[in-house]
């Protein structure tokens, strides 16, 4: 396997199947996935240590283009340079589980992994910016807006 995400065309097929989730998104909206181990974060350090791990790994980007959500692989040089609205940082087992689920319920799997802590996600935009950029449907499908504060 060339990278932690495996065959990108399988991800693309999954995104195409769920095109309606991204239909309201404005062009240029971007979501990134990085693997926690590939990102060079040393054990014991948490994901915010990504800042220090310049260029240590790949990022799978999903970008909204005219034709829909497109996947691509990019160098990852820290979240500040990633130009994404949401960043998902996945444990290796979580990535493996996602790859397994690509032909089936991948989004359901991502949602479960977020709940279990296998995927951490960061928001680079605030709630209103995300709403304006048409993220509501996608976020809701992952149960993210449900993860309200104080429970």
């Amino acid at each position: 396997m060339a990278n932690a995400f495996g065959d990108l065309s399988a991800w693309q097929a999954m995104l195409d199947r769920h095109a309606e989730l991204f239909s309201e998104m404005s062009a240029g909206s971007r979501v990134g996935f990085v693997s926690r181990s590939e990102s060079g974060v040393t054990p014991g350090k948490h994901v915010a240590g990504l800042m220090a791990a310049k260029g240590a790994g790949d990022m799978m980007a999903w970008e909204r283009r005219e034709t829909g959500m497109q996947t691509s692989l990019e160098d990852y040089a820290g979240f500040q340079d990633a130009r994404v609205d949401l960043l998902f940082v996945a444990e290796d087992e979580a990535l493996a589980a996602m790859r397994e689920a690509l032909s089936g319920e991948a989004l359901g799997m991502i949602k479960r992994l977020i709940r279990k802590g296998g995927i951490m996600f960061y928001v680079m935009k605030n709630k209103y910016q995300l709403q304006d950029a048409g993220y509501e449907e996608f976020l809701e499908s992952l149960g993210l807006s449900f993860l309200g504060a104080c429970r």
């Binding site: 915010a48 359901g108 449900f146 104080c150």
Partner: protein, 656 residues
């Protein structure tokens, strides 16, 4: 100690002390009062003052006033209408509050709340020890604090403490609750600094130690309290381990704090710390550990511990010194008095619904599901006052709306009779409790409360009595007022043109235990009612598929509880077909069509319908010319939920 309950709960009601102050009992009103009732400029409003007056008279030995932000820029401000304490101009209002608390014989503590990662609500950013991006879209993008800024913030806390003491407060508390600034420094999750404020636990605790020193120097004669996490629940993502949390507590103890208020959780943590699904007493072991490790420092605790009897035992067993109560006192401000008077069965319970916090995070003033007056204390219209004209009131329906109205109206001196067609009170709340996977006993306790109060107040409840036109004719002119609180029903009529409609079964019949469904079930409707029943059936071994017309399930569920339902659906493996509607039913199952127009067949023994719901309006039309005053409350007006039923019932009760 001369009230009967004080003798029974003698550990809770024994006197205590904090610093040079004596407390009349071992109960601390936990700062549970960031209310969003105040001015955008940080000034306290009459609404807040009226609320604080109620808080002051709860009977607690220590009252902690809501967290005020200490900086003029508002970087520490977490809520739009939070109280400020960054300038002397605010002192007069704090004087009023300290006065209320002292008049009630309690020790007054002012909390200082710098929200850090969750602050800057009016700004385009928040400040943190390090730039750790947000995981919840509600909050602002972070900026890293310089060392000069850290020093300034420490000084602002000291000034704020000095101001609080000048205003007459006896002591101050700094909170780190759920990830505020102090927690941001303490935690590995948010503190990635490489200078003397970051790295080791010793370094991460430096901000806290400087803060404690500064506050203590500014207010040398006044107790200083600190709220610290015993578990962040963020360990998997690099937050502090439990051991680190206790090391930090040790540092606070070494700095000489007078009390540690032990808390649990982090706003971004993937698990609940005090939601409905956490059982009372779940976190007691953490406070017991703090007590063991720091025997010379007072420990306050109460996170999800709503019961005074349990609290009394905990104090006896050395789990904590002070019971720190928050939400139970929102639901019933009389809780401590009722405990002291041995009237615990009359307590209006907190059901952990978290309506209060859900509203704060939607930038709304907080309210409480169980206490309709909360937030309206300033409005005389909400007060229970003797009715000028005593009326004879008939209430139709013994659900939450009807019972709430009956109790309130009776307290005002009206004569009240409740007519209920079923064999018990509680209405759909009883069915909710029968199917709830979180804490059914909490829901049942609401019904118990209604039963006790009806008995106590002499409200006649006529069970197995259906009110209809014929019945009304039989009681004509016996009542001045009729309140229709007959709830809502499932609208099976909405499917009348569907092939096989006669096979559909009302999900409420199943929820009430009147019908047993087959093994394979299709549930039409994935809202709060459909999901609750689907979850309970699945747990009991049924195979359930939920069919929902909307794009998502749980659309009508309280924001803080939606995740819980979606997690249950996942955990229990309940299949959901969203954007789908029922097109045909046979004895073999249901045919369903999705948004693309594709049909699929779901094999089922029973097809249940939980949605749409229809308010029981019929009685309004039938009774219109039969009684002087005719009113409605709860689901009978518009089908909604518990909050609306309880609040409307109460409002009718104080108005009629």
């Amino acid at each position: 100690m001369n009230r009967p309950g004080e003798e029974k709960l003698k550990h809770l009601f024994r006197p205590g002390s904090i610093g040079r102050f004596k407390t009349k009992n071992m109960v601390k009103y936990g700062a549970c009062c960031v209310s969003n009732y105040n001015g955008r400029d940080g000034f306290i409003t009459p609404r807040e003052l009226a609320r604080v007056r109620v808080i002051a008279s709860t009977g607690c030995g220590i009252i902690t006033n809501q967290g005020a932000y200490p900086d003029p820029l508002g970087e520490g401000k977490a809520y739009f209408r939070q109280v400020a304490i960054f300038d002397d101009k605010f002192i007069p209002q704090f004087e009023t509050i300290a006065g209320y608390i002292h008049d009630a014989g309690a020790v007054a503590i002012q909390q200082i709340l710098h929200a850090g990662r969750y602050g800057g609500i009016d700004l385009g950013y928040c400040i943190q020890p390090s730039v750790v991006p947000q995981t919840l879209p509600h909050f602002r993008p972070p900026r890293e604090l310089t060392k000069e800024q850290i020093k300034a913030i420490v000084a602002q806390h000291a000034d704020a403490a000095r101001r609080a003491i000048r205003a007459g407060f006896d002591g101050t508390e700094v909170t780190s609750f759920m990830g505020y600034l102090l927690a941001n420094f303490n935690s590995r999750f948010t503190n990635q600094r490489s200078d003397e404020y970051g790295g080791s636990v010793e370094n991460r605790g430096r901000f806290m130690r400087e803060l404690i020193d500064a506050v203590k120097q500014a207010t040398p004669d006044s107790p200083m309290l600190i709220r610290l996490n015993a578990a962040e629940l963020m360990d998997r993502w690099g937050g502090n381990s439990e051991d680190e949390c206790f090391e930090l507590m040790q540092q606070a103890v070494d700095c000489g704090v007078d009390m540690i208020s032990v808390t649990v959780g982090w706003q971004e943590a993937p698990e609940s710390s005090f939601g409905r699904d956490v059982s009372p007493g779940h976190w007691n072991h953490l406070s017991a550990k703090a007590k063991r490790l720091f025997p010379k420092t007072a420990i306050a605790f109460g996170n999800r511990l709503p019961d005074p009897v349990m609290a009394d035992q905990c104090i006896r067993d050395g789990v904590f010194d002070y019971w720190e109560v928050c939400r139970p006192l929102l639901a019933d401000p009389e809780l401590i008095h009722k405990a002291a008077e041995d009237r615990l069965n009359e307590v209006r319970p907190c059901i952990g619904s978290l309506n209060c916090l859900s509203r704060l995070f939607r930038d709304l003033p907080y309210t409480c599901t169980m206490n309709p007056v909360l937030g309206h204390e300033v409005e005389p219209e909400y007060a229970i006052t003797p009715a000028v004209e005593k009326k004879r009131i008939m209430v139709i329906g013994a659900g939450p709306a009807g019972m709430e109205a009956a109790i309130t109206a009776r307290k005002r001196g009206h004569e009240v009779t409740v007519f209920e067609k079923s064999a018990h009170i509680g209405g759909n709340l009883a069915a909710y409790a029968a199917n709830d996977l979180a804490r059914p006993e909490d829901l049942r306790s609401v019904i118990d409360y209604y039963r006790v109060m009806a008995d106590k107040l002499g409200i006649e409840v006529r069970l197995n009595t259906e009110a209809n036109a014929k019945f009304m004719r039989s009681v004509l002119h016996q009542y001045d007022v009729c309140l229709v609180a007959a709830g809502a029903r499932t609208d099976l009529g909405a499917f009348r043109y569907l092939e096989g409609a006669e096979l559909l079964v009302d999900a409420l019949e199943v929820a009430h235990g009147r019908i047993k469904p087959g093994h394979r079930v299709v549930m039409v409707g994935g809202g709060m009612i459909g999901l609750t029943i689907a979850e309970s059936l699945t747990k009991a071994g049924h195979e359930v598929v939920v069919v929902e017309e909307e794009k998502r399930v749980a659309g009508d569920v309280m924001p803080t509880f939606k995740w819980r339902h979606t997690a249950w659906v996942d955990e229990l493996g309940i299949r959901t077909l969203t954007s789908s509607r029922l097109v045909k039913v046979t004895s073999e199952g249901a045919t369903v069509k999705n948004a693309k127009g594709e049909e699929s067949f779901v094999a089922a023994d029973t097809v249940l319908v939980s949605s749409p719901r229809k308010a029981n309006h019929d009685l309004f039309h039938e009774f219109q010319w039969m009684v002087d005053e005719l009113h409605g409350a709860g689901d009978a007006v518009i089908a909604r939920g518990l909050d609306a039923a309880i609040h409307e019932g109460y409002r009718m009760g104080v108005r009629i």
